[in-house]
C-alpha cells in the first residue's frame, strides 16, 4: 500500500501533518531508515527535508540551534568557519544524515571516547507531538536543569514519540592537530594494547579496533599531541596524519555504515566484556557460515559488527545468538541483509524497564500512530 509523502516547511505545517496524518513514519535523510524494527505500513511519510537551516548561532556562546532536518555535514561546514564543530563523528554524517535523524537513532562515533554520545551535546529540543502540540525542553545555554530533559527521552526514540523539529546543540572548538597511530592486531592483541593505552598517562580522543587494526587517535595542540604519541609507544605502529589519517577513519566509517547484503549490528557492552564478545561472534559466525568484521570503540565498549557472506539465515543466526549471549547489553540492528527480517527479531530480550517504555509510549502516542513496529515486539506490537 502506498503512503502519502509530506514535506512540511515550518512547525505549524509539521504540526498539522502530525495531527492528521494517521499512521506516520518520520524520515530524515534516509540514512537510518533501515535501523531498528521494520515499520509496518503507514499512511504518511513525514520528510524532515523541508525543516532545515540554522536558527541561531553565536560562536562565543558555544551554542547553535538548527532545524532538525539539517544535515550534520552542512552544519559542521558552517561551524568550521568559526573554528568550531559538533563533537560527534557518527559514520552516517558523511552520507548526509540529519541532526534529528542522528538523535532519534542515538547514533554516535568513535570520538564518543571523550565527548560521549550525541545526546550529551544536545541542550534543548522542540518536538511536535502526535496531538500536533509543539513542546520545548531544555534551552539555549550550556548549563540548564530547569524541567525534564525531553531531548534525552527522544534520543533513541526512532520517531515513535513525536517529531524532533528543532535541536539546540553545544559546540566545541576544533582542535589544531590530529594524529592517529595504527597497528595491525587481532581481537586479543587489540584488547591487550587498548588496556596498555588506558593505563598510560595519555588522553586519546578515539580508541578503535577497526577491521583488524587498532587505531589510537590524539587531538589537541601540536605541543600536546606529540609527547603523547611518543609516550604511547605502540610497537609496530604506523603514524597516520593528513590524508592517510583521513583515509583510515573514512574506511572505518564506511565499514560501520555497511553496504548492500551486509548485516550491521551495534552492541554496547561493558568494555571488559570485549574478549567474550569477539569470541562469541567468531564462534557464531563460523557456526552459521558468515564472516564478522568489527569496528569496536574499545574504551567505551561500543561495537559495530558487520556480517558479510553467508545467507540471511546465517546472519539471523548470529543476531539471535548475540541477543541471547549478551542479553544485558544494548543491541540495535542497523542494516540487514534481505530476508533477515523474517528470521530474527530486530530487538532482543526486552530491557528491565520495558514496562516503563510502554507507559511512556502510551502517554505520548496513545493511538500508536508514530513509527508503528519500530520497537516490535517490545512495545507490544508486531
Amino acid at each position: 500500500m502506498s503512503s502519502n509523502d509530506s514535506e512540511p516547511h515550518d512547525l505549524d505545517a509539521a504540526a498539522e501533518v502530525m495531527r492528521t496524518g494517521g499512521r506516520i513514519l518520520i524520515r530524515g535523510s534516509g540514512t537510518g531508515t533501515d535501523w531498528a524494527g521494520r515499520p509496518s505500513t503507514v499512511d504518511t511519510v513525514l520528510h524532515t527535508s523541508g525543516l532545515t537551516g540554522v536558527l541561531a548561532y553565536n560562536p562565543a556562546d558555544m551554542t547553535v540551534a538548527v532545524r532538525a532536518g539539517t544535515t550534520l555535514r552542512d552544519l559542521q561546514d558552517q561551524l568550521a568557519e568559526h573554528g568550531q564543530w559538533i563533537a560527534t563523528d557518527a559514520a552516517r554524517i558523511e552520507a548526509g544524515a540529519s541532526v534529528g535523524g542522528l538523535l532519534a537513532t542515538a547514533d554516535s562515533g568513535p570520538r564518543q571516547h571523550v565527548y560521549g554520545p550525541l545526546r550529551d551535546v544536545v541542550l534543548g529540543v522542540t518536538v511536535v507531538l502526535a496531538s500536533g502540540e509543539i513542546a520545548h525542553s531544555g534551552g539555549h545555554v550550556i548549563k540548564n536543569v530547569a524541567g525534564y530533559d525531553l531531548a534525552k527521552l527522544f534520543s533513541g526514540s526512532f520517531g515513535t514519540l513525536g517529531l524532533l523539529a528543532e535541536v539546540v546543540l553545544r559546540t566545541h572548538p576544533r582542535t589544531a592537530t590530529s594524529r592517529t597511530l595504527a597497528v595491525p592486531a587481532d581481537a586479543a592483541a587489540a584488547y591487550r594494547l587498548a588496556g596498555e593505552v588506558r593505563d598510560k598517562t595519555v588522553e586519546p580522543t578515539a580508541l578503535s579496533w577497526s577491521d583488524g587494526r587498532l587505531l589510537v587517535r590524539f587531538e589537541g595542540t601540536e605541543a600536546g599531541v606529540v609527547p603523547q604519541l611518543d609516550r604511547v609507544a605502540l610497537p609496530g605502529a604506523e603514524l597516520l596524519d593528513g590524508e592517510t589519517e583521513k583515509a583510515a577513519w573514512a574506511a572505518d566509517a564506511a565499514l560501520v555504515r555497511g553496504s548492500a547484503g551486509e548485516t550491521v549490528i551495534r552492541v554496547g557492552a561493558l568494555p571488559s566484556r570485549f574478549p567474550d564478545l569477539a569470541e562469541l561472534v567468531d564462534k557464531l559466525a563460523a557456526e552459521h557460515g558468515a564472516r564478522a568484521v568489527f569496528s569496536s570503540w574499545l574504551g567505551v565498549g561500543v561495537h559495530t559488527i558487520v556480517l558479510r557472506g553467508g545467507d540471511a539465515a546465517a546472519h539471523a543466526g548470529v543476531l539471535i545468538g548475540l541477543h541471547n549471549g549478551f542479553a544485558e547489553s544494548a543491541i540495535t540492528l542497523h542494516r540487514r541483509a534481505d530476508g533477515v527480517d523474517g528470521l530474527a527479531p530486530a530487538w532482543g530480550p526486552p530491557p528491565p524497564a520495558v514496562g516503563l517504555l510502554r507507559s511512556v509510549k502510551q502517554a505520548f502516542d496513545p493511538d500508536g500512530r508514530l513509527g508503528p513496529d519500530r520497537f516490535a515486539p517490545w512495545l507490544g506490537e508486531g
Binding site: 560521549g116 525542553s137 530547569a146 528491565p352 516503563l356
Partner: protein
C-alpha cells in the same frame, strides 16, 4: 488510617527506622533552602534498596506522597516534605559497592557522598568529575535528582554525562534499571529523562557512574581585574581562542570580601573582580595554553596574577571560592542564593541589570559564578530583623526571571524544586509544561513522588500559573499554603 501506613512502614523497616516523634520529624522540615519549612507526617530510614521499595510500596498502598532526601543540602527546596507525606531518607544506603578500574566505573548507593567516590577511586588514580561546592556532604542520589554540576562542568559536563545506569524505585514500589552498561542505548533514554527530575519520577537506589583518570597536569591562577567587564572580556577571549578551561570562576568585590573574611584564601580585598581559572590535561598542552591564558589576562589589564605553586595553594584558592556561599553569612545576617544562567556573552549586561535592580530595591547583591558557562550565583543579602525578607525574596525571584528574559535558564544546577516552580511559566509554555506532566504521569500516574516540585501547580502558585498570589480562601485563613 495514619496508623495503618505507619504500621506497614514499621513492618517493612522495623520500628527504629520509622520516625514519628514531632521533635525528630522537625529535623527533616527543610533542606538547604531554609525559608520553606514543612513537618512531614513520618520519616522512613531504609537501609537497603529492598527497604526503599517496601517503603514506597507502603506509601502507594495508602496513596500517601513521599519525598526522597539525601543530605538535605539542596538549595531549591527539592527535598521539602509534604505535610501529609513521608520523607524517605537515603542516608543509610551509603555503601560503595564496587570500584572497577578496568571499566572505570563505580557502583554506589545513593547516600554515598560525592567526595567519598573520588576518595575511594583515588588509589587507582581515578576520580568522579562532577564537583558541586557541597561535595563533602551532598550525596550521589541527590546529585542524580538535581543533575548537579559544579565548577568544572564547562569541560567535563554534568551528572547526566557521568551516569551509565540507575537502579530506581518507581512510585508504585517497582524496582527496575534504567540505562545500560555503556552510553549505547536500546530504546528511549529513560536514564536521561529520570536524571535531574528532582525526585518526581522515583528514587535512585544504585548508580553506575563513570570514573575518569586524573589529568596529568593541573594549572590554576587567580587574577584581579579593575572591572567586571574586563574580567568578562578575558573569559570571552579565552573561549574565542579555542581553549576549554576546566573552570573559570568569577567573584565580585562583595563575594571576595566575604570569602576572604571566612577562609583567608589570599584574595585581594579591594579588587572589583577576580577570576579563578584552571586548566588541566596533558602537561605540555596545559603549559602552552596556560601561557596563553596569562597573556589574555595581561592584555585586559589584570592588576595582579597569582599562580598556584602547588596543590596546597590551589586548594586554598578553591577553598575561598567553594566557601563563598556560606561565607556571605559573615557580611549579612541572611541571604538568598539564585542560580540562573544567561548566555555567556550577555554576562556583563546581566550583572549590570542585577546591580541596578539591587540598588532600586535597596538590597546588596554579591556575585560569584561560573563565568565559562554563564551560570550566575547572585547572593541576595538582607536582614530578617530589619524586615527586608519580602523585598529580598522578590528581588531574588526577579533575578531568576531576568535570566530567562536574557535567553537563559532559571537554574543551572540547583534545580527548580519548590523555590522556582512558580517561575517555570516564564521559561516554558503551557504546552511545554503539560508535556513534562505527561512524562511524569507515565512514570507516576498517582503523582505520589515528590509532588509540588518542578512543575507549577495551582495549589502552589495560585490558579493562574505565574507569580504566586494568595488564594482568596488562603487569604481568608480557610486553607493554608503548603
Amino acid at each position: 488510617m495514619g496508623d495503618a501506613l505507619q504500621a506497614d512502614l514499621i513492618g517493612a523497616l522495623g520500628a527504629a527506622s520509622v520516625l514519628s516523634n514531632p521533635t525528630q520529624l522537625r529535623t527533616y522540615e527543610c533542606d538547604g533552602l531554609t525559608g520553606y519549612k514543612v513537618t512531614p507526617r513520618l520519616v522512613a530510614l531504609p537501609s537497603s534498596a529492598e527497604q526503599v521499595a517496601a517503603a514506597v510500596a507502603a506509601c502507594a498502598k495508602h496513596n500517601v506522597p513521599f519525598v526522597a532526601r539525601g543530605a538535605g543540602s539542596g538549595l531549591s527546596g527539592g527535598a521539602l516534605p509534604v505535610a501529609d507525606g513521608v520523607v524517605i531518607s537515603l542516608q543509610r544506603l551509603r555503601r560503595i559497592l564496587d570500584i572497577d578500574p578496568v571499566n572505570r566505573r563505580a557502583i554506589v548507593e545513593p547516600g554515598v557522598t560525592n567526595l567519598a567516590v573520588s576518595h575511594a577511586a583515588a588509589p587507582h588514580d581515578l576520580y568522579y568529575a562532577p564537583d558541586p561546592s557541597s561535595q563533602q556532604v551532598c550525596t550521589i542520589g541527590g546529585n542524580i535528582a538535581e543533575n548537579s554540576g559544579g565548577a568544572h562542568c564547562l569541560k567535563y559536563g554534568f551528572t547526566t554525562h557521568h551516569v551509565y545506569a540507575l537502579e530506581v524505585v518507581l512510585a508504585d514500589g517497582t524496582r527496575t534499571w534504567l540505562g545500560g552498561p555503556t552510553g549505547e542505548q536500546a530504546g528511549y533514554d529513560l536514564r536521561g529523562a529520570f536524571l535531574g527530575s528532582e525526585g518526581t519520577l522515583g528514587i535512585t537506589t544504585k548508580a553506575v557512574i563513570r570514573l575518569l583518570r586524573k589529568p596529568e597536569s593541573v594549572r590554576t591562577l587567580l587574577a584581579d581585574f579593575p572591572s567586571i567587564s574586563a574580567a568578562g572580556s578575558v573569559v570571552t577571549d579565552i573561549i574565542g581562542s579555542g581553549i576549554v578551561p576546566a573552570a573559570i570562576e568569577m567573584m565580585d568585590r562583595l563575594a571576595i570580601e566575604a570569602a576572604e573574611a571566612a577562609v583567608h584564601a589570599g584574595y585581594t580585598l579591594d579588587t572589583p573582580a577576580a577570576l579563578l581559572i584552571e586548566l588541566d590535561g596533558p602537561e605540555a598542552e596545559c603549559q602552552s595554553l596556560f601561557t596563553e591564558v596569562e597573556r589574555i589576562c595581561r592584555e585586559h589589564g589584570t592588576t595582579k596574577i597569582r599562580i598556584a605553586a602547588d596543590a596546597d595553594e590551589r586548594a586554598g584558592m578553591w577553598r575561598g571560592r567553594k566557601a563563598a556561599f556560606a561565607a556571605v553569612g559573615r557580611i549579612s545576617p541572611n541571604y538568598f542564593v539564585q542560580d540562573g544562567v544567561v548566555p555567556r556573552t550577555r554576562l556583563a549586561e546581566a550583572l549590570d541589570r542585577i546591580a541596578e535592580m539591587g540598588r532600586d530595591a535597596g538590597i546588596r547583591v554579591a556575585n560569584v559564578f561560573h563565568a565559562g558557562d554563564g551560570n550566575l550565583h547572585p547572593l541576595v543579602l538582607y536582614s530578617e530583623a530589619a524586615g527586608e525578607h519580602d523585598r529580598a525574596e522578590q528581588l531574588s525571584k526577579q533575578i531568576a526571571e531576568l535570566c530567562v528574559e536574557f535567553g537563559g535558564s532559571l537554574s543551572g544546577e540547583h534545580g527548580i524544586g519548590t523555590d522556582k516552580a512558580c517561575s517555570m511559566p516564564t521559561m516554558f509554555s503551557g504546552t511545554d509544561l503539560a508535556t513534562m506532566a505527561t512524562l511524569r504521569s507515565a512514570f507516576d500516574p498517582a503523582g505520589l513522588a515528590n509532588p509540588g516540585k518542578v512543575l507549577p501547580t495551582p495549589r502552589l502558585c495560585g490558579e493562574k500559573p505565574g507569580p504566586y498570589q494568595p488564594h482568596p480562601l488562603e487569604a481568608a485563613g480557610v486553607i493554608e499554603r503548603l
